[in-house]
C-alpha cells in the first residue's frame, strides 16, 4: 500500500529523508470519528479486539453523548478457534445491529490488525451480507488496521471501497468535476458556489452526505483531491476512467487559488470569469490573514508526522504567514499527488517521511522550535518541557479549506503562541 513512486523531478528543492522506528500515530480506524458524521446513514462496524473498541472510544467516544454510528464486533477466544465459526458470528452480530438500527443504509465492515492477522475475509463477508440485506442495506469493507493504514489513510481506504460501487456515467456524458475527500459541510457548500460562479455546472462530491446519493463516475470525470491522503481512492477512480487534475491542496489562499485554477483550466473557464469568481474570496482571505502574518512571521515550526496534511500546511505557514520550517514530518509522502506542494515549499525544507520517535523528539528538543505540531500523546509532555505545541488532530476536525477558512487555519497555529504570552502563572 505504501509503495513509493519516484519523485517527479530529481532536482526538487527540498530534502526528503526517510526514517524507520517507533511511530506515535493513530491507526486508520480513527477516520471513523469524522466519517460517521459525514455520511449520515452509514454505520461503521469494526471487526477487531477490545483494543480497537477502546481506541475509537478514547479518540472520540467519551466526548460524544449522542448515540454514535459506529461499534465494534469484538473477537473473542471462540472466534480464534476457527474461521468458519467467526463468519457465522459476524452474521449474527450484523443481524442484531441492523435490527437495532433499521435506519442504516450503508454498513462498513472495518478490518483491524487482529482481523487482518487472522485473515478473516471481510470482503467475502461483505458480499455475503450485501446479498442478504439488499436492497435496504449495502455492505462494504475496508481495512483501518494500524499495520496497513496510518490515521487519515482510513478515510482513503473507506472512500476507495466506495468507488467500485459508484454509478457509471454514460460513455458520452459531458465532462464532470468530482471533488474527492471528506470536507466539512460548510466548506463543501462554499466550493460548490465557487464552481458555479466559474461556470462549471456539474460538480459532485465524494463522499456524498447520503449513501444513496453517491456521485457517478466515468471517462468524462475529472477529479480534484481535496485531501492529500487519498492514494488508493485516486487509483480506484483512475480504474473507472476518471482523470486527476494536478493541483496543490486548498489550504490557505494560494493553495485554494491553485486548486480552483486546476479545475478552471481543465474546464476551459475564461481568465476573466475565473478571476471574477475568486476575487471576493481571495480579498477576504488576504484581510483575514494579515493579522496572523504578524504573529506567525519568523516563528520556527516543527511538524511531527500525523495525517499527511503536514506538507500542505507547512507550505501555507511558510508562504502565507512567513513561518520558518524546521522539519516537516509526514507519515507517508505521495510524491505524485504532492508534487505541486513540494514545488512550493521553501528551498532547503527538510521533509521527514516515517518516524523514529525518540530520535525525532531529540531533534525537536535540540531545535527548540517556537511551535511544534504533534499528536496528543506528545503535546502535553513537550509543553511540560517548555515547548509550545499545536495538537494536530484538530486540523482534521475543523473546517480549514478554502478562502474563507484561511484566517481560521492561521488562527489555529497562532492561538497556542498567544496563549503562552497571555498566561502569567
Amino acid at each position: 500500500m505504501n509503495a513509493h513512486a519516484p519523485l517527479p523531478t530529481s532536482d526538487c528543492n527540498v530534502e526528503i529523508r526517510q526514517e524507520r522506528g517507533q511511530r506515535a500515530v493513530f491507526c486508520g480506524l480513527t477516520g471513523i470519528v469524522w466519517l460517521h458524521r459525514k455520511i449520515q446513514d452509514a454505520f461503521f462496524l469494526v471487526v477487531g479486539s477490545r483494543t480497537c473498541a477502546h481506541l475509537i472510544q478514547s479518540a472520540a467516544g467519551v466526548m460524544i453523548f449522542a448515540e454514535p454510528r459506529f461499534a465494534t464486533a469484538i473477537i473473542d477466544e471462540r472466534d480464534l478457534a476457527g474461521i468458519a465459526d467467526a463468519n457465522e458470528e459476524l452474521d449474527r452480530v450484523v443481524t442484531r445491529l441492523i435490527e437495532r438500527r433499521p435506519d442504516i443504509r450503508l454498513l462498513f465492515l472495518v478490518g483491524s490488525c487482529p482481523s487482518e492477522v487472522i485473515k478473516l475475509d471481510l470482503s467475502r463477508a461483505a458480499l455475503r451480507l450485501s446479498q442478504r440485506l439488499s436492497p435496504e442495506v449495502r455492505v462494504l469493507n475496508y481495512s483501518g488496521s494500524g499495520i496497513e493504514t496510518t490515521f487519515t489513510q482510513g478515510e482513503d481506504a473507506c472512500l476507495a471501497s466506495l468507488v467500485p460501487g459508484l454509478p457509471s456515467d454514460p460513455t458520452d456524458a459531458p465532462t464532470s468535476l468530482l471533488v474527492v475527500g471528506a470536507l466539512s459541510d460548510v466548506v463543501e457548500d462554499q466550493f460548490a458556489r465557487l464552481f458555479t460562479a466559474m461556470g462549471i455546472a456539474d460538480v459532485r462530491f465524494l463522499p456524498a452526505r447520503k449513501a444513496g446519493q453517491m456521485p457517478a463516475v466515468g471517462r468524462g470525470t475529472r477529479y480534484l483531491l481535496a485531501q492529500p491522503f487519498l492514494a488508493d481512492t485516486a487509483r480506484a477512480l483512475e480504474e473507472r476512467g476518471a482523470r486527476r487534475l494536478p493541483a496543490p491542496f486548498p489550504l490557505g489562499s494560494e493553495g485554494t487559488t491553485g486548486w480552483l485554477q486546476a479545475a478552471a483550466d481543465a474546464f476551459g473557464v475564461e481568465t476573466e470569469r475565473f478571476e471574477a469568481a475568486i476575487a471576493p474570496g481571495r480579498a477576504r482571505a488576504a484581510t483575514a490573514l494579515a493579522p496572523y502574518r504578524e504573529r506567525l512571521s519568523g516563528k520556527r515550526v516543527f511538524f511531527f508526522p500525523d495525517s499527511q496534511l503536514e506538507v500542505p500546511l507547512a507550505r501555507f505557514l511558510a508562504r502565507e504567514t512567513g513561518a520558518v520550517l524546521v522539519e516537516v514530518g509526514t507519515p507517508y509522502l505521495h510524491r505524485g499527488h504532492l508534487a505541486e506542494e513540494i514545488e512550493l515549499l521553501p528551498r532547503g525544507t527538510l521533509v521527514n517521511e516515517g518516524q523514529d520517535l525518540d530520535a525525532q523528539m531529540d531533534r525537536c528538543r535540540a531545535a527548540r522550535p517556537d511551535l511544534t505540531v504533534c499528536g496528543l500523546g506528545l503535546a502535553n509532555p513537550l509543553e511540560a518541557e517548555g515547548l509550545t505545541t499545536k495538537w494536530s488532530i484538530e486540523l482534521l476536525f475543523t473546517p480549514i479549506q478554502g478562502y474563507d477558512q484561511a484566517g481560521d487555519l492561521a488562527e489555529l497555529f497562532a492561538r497556542p503562541l498567544l496563549r503562552r504570552r497571555l498566561l502569567e502563572v
Binding site: 500500500m1 505504501n2 517507533q22 506515535a24 500515530v25 493513530f26 491507526c27 486508520g28 480506524l29 480513527t30 471487526v47 477490545r50 483494543t51 473498541a53 477502546h54 481506541l55 472510544q57 478514547s58 479518540a59 467519551v62 453523548f65 448515540e67 454514535p68 461499534a71 465494534t72 464486533a73 469484538i74 473477537i75 473473542d76 477466544e77 472466534d79 480464534l80 458470528e89 459476524l90 452480530v93 442484531r96 445491529l97 437495532r100 438500527r101 433499521p102 435506519d103 490488525c113 487482529p114 487482518e116 492477522v117 488496521s145 494500524g146 499495520i147 496497513e148 496510518t150 525518540d358 499528536g375 496528543l376 500523546g377 506528545l378 503535546a379 502535553n380 509532555p381 509543553e383 511540560a384
Partner: protein, 532 residues
Amino acid sequence: MQLTVWTYEGPPHIGAMRVATAMSGLHYVLHSPQGDTYADLLFTMIERRAARPPVTYTTFQAQDLGRDTAAIFKDAVAAAYERFRPQAMIVGASCTAELIQDDPGGLAKALALPIPVIPLELPAYQKKENWGASETLYRLVRALSGPPPTADAPPRGEGRRPLCNILGPTALGFRHRDDLIEIRKILDGLGIDVNVVVPLGATPADLGRLGEADFNVVLYPEIARAAAQYLEKTFRQPFVDTVPIGVNATIRFVEAVAALAGVDPAPTLAGAPSRLPWYSRSVDSTYLTGKRVFIFGDATHALAAARIAATELGFKVVGLGTYTREFAREVRAEAALHGIEGLICDDYLDVEAAIQASQAELVLGTQMERHIAKRLGIPCAVISAPIHVQDFPARHSPQMGFEGANVLFDTFVHPLMMGLEEHLLGMFREDTEFHDGVGPSHLGGLPRAIAEATVQAPMESPPTPAPAPILLDAAVASTAASWAPEAEKELRKIPFFVRGKARSNTEKFARERALPLITVETLYDAKAHFGR
C-alpha cells in the same frame, strides 16, 4: 463475537500500562502494531500527565510481518534499555502481537540485560484492563519483593511505629491521587507509618522493601488483592481490604487497620470527622428519602455507593450492577440486601435496558451511564471508571475517607432538583419558566424533551437509537389497558421524576385487575394501593 457500542474496560495491556506509568524507574516494552500508541493520550490528555508514559511500542506494520517481527521486538528492548536505563522492565504483547506469537518474555531474556525483565502473559481475548493491572502488579511484586524472610531474620526494630504498605493506586485510576492523600492522613492520625505505596510513585527498588512492613492496606481490591495475597503468603503480612468509601466503611476501615496495628482508633473516630452525617440528617435532606437510585460501576465503587445511598443518604437502591465479573458474588449479595437482583454485565445495551426498566430518579455510574442518563433525561453522577477528563479534577476530590464522604454527599445530591423547586413544580404546573419541560434551574434548566419522549411512549422506537431489546414493556403493553384522555392528563400533573413509576404502577394495577380502561379513578386507586 460481541457487539460493543461502548466498552467499560480497555484491553489488559492498558492495565499493565497503568501500573508501569504509575511507577518510576520501570519501563514497559509492548509488542504492538502501529496505532496502539493511542494509549499514551489516556495518560497525557485524560490524566494530563506531563511526561510520556514509560512505554516503548514496537509499532510493527504489515510490511514487517513478512520479515522478522521478533528481531524488531529485540531491537526495541535493547534500545529502550540503552535510552532509559530503567531499574527493571516489563515486556509483553498487545492483542495483535499475541496472535503472531513472538514470545516477548523469551526474546527479552535472550538479551541478558543486567536488570530484572519480567514477562507478562495478558490474554487479550479473554481478560480486560483491571485484570491486566492486577496481574502486572502481582508479577512485579512476586519478582521484585525478594525472598521470604528466614526464620532467624532479626525481628523488626523495637519501639518504632507500626508500618504498612498501601497497595492499589495506579495511573488513570478514578480519584486515586486524592484517595491516597486521605488514607495517608488517616494512617498518620492512627500513628502508623507508610512503608511503600505500590504502584503509584514506587520504584522497582521500593518493591524490594515491601517485606519490611507489618501489614498491607488494599485500597482497590480489583487491582491489588492478588498482590496482597502473595505478600500474605510469602511475608506473613495480613491485609485490610475494607474499602473506606463512605462514613461507615471508613469507620470499619479505621477499626480494622487499628486492630492490625495494635493502636487505638478512638482518637481518629472522635468528634465529627465527616460532615456527611449531619448534612444528611439536616431537614433539607428529608426530600432525599426514598429517591430511586440506579448504581453501576466497578465492584469497589458500586458496592460502596450502594451502602452510602441506602444507609447514609436514605435513597432506595433500585438497581445495582458491575462490569467486574471477578466480584460478581459480592455485588449479588449486596443487591439481595436491597431486594433486587445484581446486574453483572459488560454490555452497555443491557445496562441501558436495566436503567430504563428501573424507573430510577438518579443514576450513579460511569461515563457510559452519563450517556444513558442524558438520553433518558435522568440526573446522573459519576462514581467509577471509565471516566473522562472532567473526572480528573484539579481540586482535591477524594472518594475515600471522611473528606471523601463530604465530596460524595455533594456529588450525589447536586444533580437532583432542589427541594423547594421540586415542591413548587408539584403544586403549580403551568409556570412559563419553571415547568416540566426544563431541568433543575440550578443546573441551567436544560430541556427534558428526550426523557418525556421515552417515558411517554415506551412502545414507539426512541429517536435514532432504537434499542430493540429494551422493549421490556412489550409483552405487557400488548395486553395493557388504554388510558382515558383525562387520566392521561391527570398523569401529567405528577412530577416528572416519579411520573414514569406512576405510569407503570397504574398499568400494572389495571393489568392485575384486567381493567380495559385506565380512568382518573384507576390512577388514584393505584396510587393508594402502591403508595409512593
